[in-house]
């Protein structure tokens, strides 16, 4: 696989009215590889994969949940290209290694067959302590040398056999060590926990209503991991003296606030982790507060680069021009407007569902109503459809809704876990 070519395009209204100091820009970063998909030819970065399967007692009810999970793990193992190091972990109140006996082993026809045999003997019994599973994965990854380190974590329940603090502590330990996609199956998983794992470990989170969807989901996550061509890409941001960074967010394909993840490189430069990249495209929202300029002044408000180590993959400039021409300064960039709305949509859903769970129906109705309004305005059909499972929409354009009494736990969790998924600006 050839090294992907990165491009960064900036979308902004660089014209500021006199007195304005906030500069917003959308940066679309696109990596174009050979585009052939899952299994790159020679030259792909070395990779390691840990698959964590929830084997708690509830996985046995219905029986199909465990059997589909076993089948899905087999599909993931088959999707690994030869030579990729891998291991399978069974998650209960503690983590136990299923295959190989210890450490990690290179994928080959023999090790794949042996792994699937071991996975086939898994039985559902015991509890759920996700942090302990991630800790074992972290130890396994630490023992091997690989550029792309990726994990899959499947659970069907609440993280009830360890404290929330323990999980968060483990996540902080694992940050930057490997990436992890989290998935929930059944009706008892908790969206906030899945999103915490995915967010901390730069992966994706989702729920699967039907265990039969598991094999396809596992294949897709593994294919995506095998398609990664650059392991540890960081977004590097230069900002001028006497400016402050309001926030740095990934806004597509899902909302991820990176502001607090900054690592200072120098007083003017900081870096934000973006994980590994295959052939894909992501959008970032950079918002900078600059010192007030006088009309006619032109300022470099930020320089946005994507870097692999110290290699600059691509770079773009964010500018600010102060003008007294209102026709220029009052234009709102449609991408900035769109993603500002998408980010608000995600928080409205999360806040609305939290209020609903806390029994605060007024706040829940207001927030979820606003969410329906934003989803409708931006044409986000998937999210609008999910919202229909938790509210009855009376009038979408005004955001008038009623909470549904018949909404199930999984309706709310699915809506929550997918709240961060955004869509791009539709061509008008």
């Amino acid at each position: 696989m050839t090294q992907p070519a990165f491009t960064a395009d900036v979308y902004q209204n660089q014209y500021l009215a006199a007195g304005a100091t906030t500069v917003d820009a959308m940066v679309t970063v696109t990596a174009t590889g050979d585009g052939t998909g899952a299994v790159p030819a020679g030259g792909a970065p070395s990779a390691a994969e840990v698959i964590m399967i929830d084997c708690s007692g509830s996985m046995g009810y219905p029986r199909s949940r465990m059997t589909e999970a076993i089948k899905a793990t087999g599909v993931a193992i088959d999707t690994l290209r030869d030579g990729v190091l891998f291991a399978v972990v069974a998650g209960r109140s503690m983590a136990t290694q299923v295959f190989p006996g210890n450490g990690m082993v290179a994928a080959s026809p023999e090790t794949r067959a042996a792994a699937k045999q071991a996975v086939g003997r898994l039985t559902p019994e015991g509890g759920t302590a996700i942090g302990s599973w991630l800790s074992l994965a972290n130890r396994l990854f630490a023992g091997v040398d690989a550029q792309v380190k990726h994990a899959i974590m499947l659970t069907d329940g609440r993280n009830q056999h360890e404290s929330h603090e323990t999980l968060m502590q483990v996540l902080r330990t694992c940050e930057g060590k490997f990436t992890c996609d989290s998935r929930g199956v059944g009706g008892d998983w908790v969206a906030d926990e899945l999103r915490a794992v995915a967010s901390g470990l730069l992966g994706t989170a989702d729920g699967l209503e039907d265990p039969a969807e598991l094999p396809a989901a596992f294949r897709s996550m593994t294919e995506s991991a095998m398609g990664k061509a650059v392991a540890d890409v960081r977004l590097r941001l230069w900002t001028p003296a006497s400016s402050t960074i309001r926030f740095v967010k990934q806004v597509y394909p899902q909302v991820e606030d990176l502001t607090a993840r900054r690592v200072d490189v120098s007083p003017r430069i900081g870096e934000y982790p973006t994980g590994s990249w295959g052939a894909e495209s992501r959008d970032y929202h950079v918002s900078v507060q600059v010192a007030q300029g006088s009309v006619g002044e032109e300022l470099l408000a930020a320089r946005v680069s994507l870097v692999d180590g110290d290699t600059v993959l691509t770079q773009s400039l964010v500018l600010a021009n102060w003008t007294d021409d209102e026709a220029l300064s009052t234009q709102i960039n449609d991408r900035v407007a769109h993603y500002t709305g998408q980010a608000e949509l995600a928080s409205a859903i999360q806040e609305g569902l939290a209020a609903r769970e806390a029994g605060d129906e007024d706040t829940a109705t207001a927030k979820l109503g606003r969410a329906v309004q934003l989803a409708t305005e931006s044409g986000h059909e998937q999210t609008a459809k999910l919202l229909n499972r938790v509210v009855d929409v009376v009038d979408a354009p005004t955001g008038t809704v009623r909470l549904r009494r018949d909404a199930s736990n999984v309706d709310a969790e699915l809506t929550n876990v997918r709240s961060v998924k955004t869509i791009r600006v539709k061509k008008s």
Binding site: W238, T239, P240, A241, R268, V290, L299, L300
Partner: protein, 347 residues
């Protein structure tokens, strides 16, 4: 006894075979050039320009600038040159001024001389492009040395202007860097004035006027504007000038422009006069040749250039103003005039 290197015979003339000394640039017998490695034009002595890269940021005093010209400390765009400059090379003189309304001087000029020959290039950064001054400044600095060396090497004024425009085009593309959205762009007008001819070449709407003493003045250039395109296509001039965007440029230097050669006009004046090469910061106030001639006093080129610049400033100065004045015929002195590389006094 040490040998005087100047007397060491090293070459024979490749054309006629006559013996020559290493210190000779031309064959004593037939006049052929003996060295094709004549030194390239040197800035400051052979030519001068209104451009000067910033040494420190006027906002914060920082000295590091990004390739695009932004201060690495405070992010302010550093100036690409001074707001006002004036140069007098004897055979010609020029003044460039920021005007009253613009924040940056996006005009640039470069002046050069050869024995008995005056050379000028004026470029005007397109203000609707980003960093128009980066284009105009890169353009004049690339164009003038190429123009001078080509004229010196006998290329002929038209060919020299074409080579110079191409050098400017390459420099403007380099100034754009990876920028593709609205890349830096500028106009281009060049003049070569010798004892017998005045040659001008242009791309865009910067102009050259021929103002003879005692004869009708004429604008040698035709703006590459939408209106002139319409007129060329048969639209009555009154309708063409009234068309929306009549003044819009149809040709310019920039990576987003067509790369045709400059249009070139040569005249062989029978009377003395002055060539005025200028940006639209002047021509917008004295567009008709007769108006400009009526406003141009006699005198040495530098005071005339200052006079015309002041006229444009007094008329409003809404744009950057650049005026180069070339008396014709050029003074015939036996030696290359030593250019005064110091900017003349600001107004």
């Amino acid at each position: 006894m040490p040998t005087n290197p100047a007397t060491v015979r090293t070459v024979d003339c490749p054309r006629c075979g006559a013996p020559a000394l290493s210190s000779f640039r031309f064959c004593e017998a037939c006049g052929a050039a003996l060295r094709d490695d004549a030194p390239p034009a040197r800035r400051g002595t052979d030519w001068v320009s209104s451009t000067a890269p910033p040494e420190e940021c006027p906002a914060c005093g920082g000295t590091a600038f990004s390739p695009e010209g932004y201060c690495e400390g405070c992010g302010q765009r550093g100036p690409t040159g001074p707001d006002r400059s004036a140069y007098d090379l004897g055979l010609l003189a020029g003044v460039s001024d920021i005007g009253h309304r613009h924040q940056r001087n996006e005009d640039a000029m470069a002046l050069g001389v050869l024995p008995g020959t005056a050379l000028a290039v004026v470029c005007d950064g397109v203000s609707s492009s980003s960093r128009g001054d980066a284009a105009s400044h890169a353009a004049v600095d690339a164009a003038l040395p190429v123009l001078r060396d080509a004229v010196r090497d006998g290329a002929g004024a038209q060919k020299a202007i074409e080579l110079s425009a191409e050098a400017a085009r390459v420099a403007v593309a380099a100034a754009a860097g990876p920028e593709t959205g609205n890349p830096p762009s500028c106009t281009y007008v060049a003049a070569v004035v010798t004892a017998g001819t005045v040659t001008v070449g242009w791309i865009g709407d910067s102009r050259a006027y021929w103002l003879p003493y005692g004869a009708a003045p004429v604008c040698l250039t035709t703006d590459d504007s939408l209106a002139n395109e319409l007129i060329a296509a048969g639209t009555p001039p009154a309708d063409a000038y009234a068309a929306p965007h009549a003044g819009a440029l149809v040709r310019w230097l920039g990576v987003d422009a067509d790369d045709g050669p400059p249009k070139v006009v040569t005249i062989a004046p029978e009377t003395p006069g002055r060539l005025i090469v200028c940006s639209d910061g002047l021509s917008r106030y004295r567009s008709a040749p007769a108006e400009l001639a009526a406003s141009t006093p006699p005198g040495a080129p530098l005071p005339v250039a200052h006079h015309l610049t002041k006229l444009a400033l007094d008329a409003g100065g809404v744009d950057n103003i650049t005026v180069v004045v070339v008396p014709y015929p050029p003074a015939q002195s036996g030696t290359t005039p030593q250019p005064d590389a110091r900017p003349a006094e600001p107004r």
